[in-house]
């Protein structure tokens, strides 16, 4: 290979440049850990309508399924949990009675606030 020394040196410099942000933190020892969001568990209950893990991943799909089941198919009860399928009455019934629960996590995760609250009425009256 011609100019092997120059090529390898160039590659090394590029590598250092690309990994600079990581190296900086390794060298300076500054912590980059993200704070954990404490949503808390609603009082007096231990379980959600599905496992907490499933809810974290899939709540948006579950809500849309509930919406279609209620509005388009005329169903009312979620068989697995036995709860009535309602965004405000059921979810917020346990979770702090307010969309604040949803909002805090969405803000934390950088998710745009879903438009559901333009129509669904937050029982605490906050918009």
């Amino acid at each position: 290979m011609y100019d092997a020394g120059k090529v390898i040196a160039g590659l090394l410099i590029a590598l250092v440049l690309f990994t600079l942000p990581v190296l900086y933190h390794v060298v300076s020892g500054e912590s980059v850990a993200i704070e954990k969001l404490e949503l808390g568990v609603p009082e007096g209950v231990t379980e959600c309508v599905r496992s907490a893990d499933f809810m974290r991943r899939e709540h948006m799909h579950l809500l849309v399924d509930w919406r279609d089941a209620v509005v388009r198919e005329g169903k009312r009860i979620d068989e697995e949990s036995g709860f009535r399928m309602s965004l405000t009455a059921t979810c917020l019934g346990c979770h702090q009675k307010s969309q604040e629960f949803c909002f805090r996590c969405h803000e934390f995760s950088g998710v745009k606030t879903p438009y559901c609250w333009e129509c669904h009425v937050d029982p605490t009256g906050s918009q």
Binding site: K75, R76, I77
Partner: protein
């Protein structure tokens, strides 16, 4: 083993499709659940409403019926007639029944206020024109439904409805709702709305809000397909009208009219009205 290009592509394509197909249930599994209807729901093959005009006029408090509906459904009260939103309201007899009115009807009848709302037609023109199926006729009970999640506000349905039963939200309705009822969502600017025959109350086993607000049975709600239902009995023994019958929309709302002019008739014929009517 040798394989030509063509065969290789065939196998590769089929293999990929097969894998994708096989993984679909895995992707969907765990997302869906199964749903049950409510045990307490009221059921009918075709819901219908009978409006007893005379009773509503003389005994019921129409404002109360309207308020019961509008507060149950978070219907905004906007004074500007260009932008108002209504699920149930009053119109003059002449405008409600243009085809059945003529200039020789008793004058007192022309201006009589008649309660009107969505007719939940058997053959609804609004449903035919909706491009997103945001409005559709429920096959099992004939209710003409609205799915506010799907409405894109094109207003074709408003143009199609011959009864003016649909309202458009020209502005954010929330500031015009005196007291928001958290158990029924409001609507937003840019969607259409109308009476839903209290579909959400039927699901809970309750009669429509306006019917419940009646103290003298001015509105009667029941199954049109059941020959023994109260509505069918009334339609058998009384004279009833449907709005704009010539259009073929077949409304599920009926108006009993045989006794609305009883007072006028009484004046003309004297007290022996019962005899004159033969009943």
């Amino acid at each position: 083993m040798s394989m030509d290009r063509r065969k290789f592509f065939h196998l590769a394509t089929c293999g990929t499709l097969g894998l994708a197909g096989a993984s679909l249930p895995i992707v969907r599994a765990g997302v869906r659940g199964s749903w049950l209807p409510s045990g307490e729901a009221l059921a009918a093959k075709r819901w219908a409403m009978v409006v007893d005009l005379k009773k509503v006029l003389e005994k019921e408090d129409s404002a109360k019926l309207i308020k019961a509906c509008h507060s149950a459904h978070n219907v905004p009260s906007i004074d500007d007639p260009q932008e108002e939103v209504k699920w149930i309201w009053e119109e003059h007899f002449e405008e409600v029944f243009p085809e059945q009115s003529h200039e020789f009807l008793p004058e007192s009848l022309h201006e009589k206020p008649v309660l009107v709302f969505c007719n939940h037609c058997d053959n609804p023109p609004c449903v035919r024109v909706c491009p997103t199926q945001a409005t559709w006729k429920r096959e099992d009970d004939g209710v003409v439904m609205m799915d506010w999640h799907r409405c894109i506000g094109c207003r074709y349905c408003i143009a199609a409805c011959p009864y003016g039963s649909r309202s458009f939200n020209w502005r954010d309705p929330r500031p015009s709702i005196a007291e928001q009822n958290p158990s029924f969502p409001t609507r937003t600017r840019g969607v259409v709305e109308k009476c839903n025959f209290c579909e959400e109350r039927l699901r809970r086993g309750e009669l429509p809000a306006c019917v419940e607000a009646c103290e003298h049975g001015g509105l009667v709600f029941g199954d049109l397909e059941d020959p023994d239902s109260e509505v069918r009995k009334l339609l058998r023994v009384r004279h009833s009208l449907r709005r704009r019958p010539g259009l073929g929309t077949k409304p599920s709302v009926f108006y009993l009219v045989d006794d609305v002019c009883e007072d006028t008739v009484k004046e003309i014929l004297g007290e022996d009205l019962q005899e004159a009517n033969g009943r």
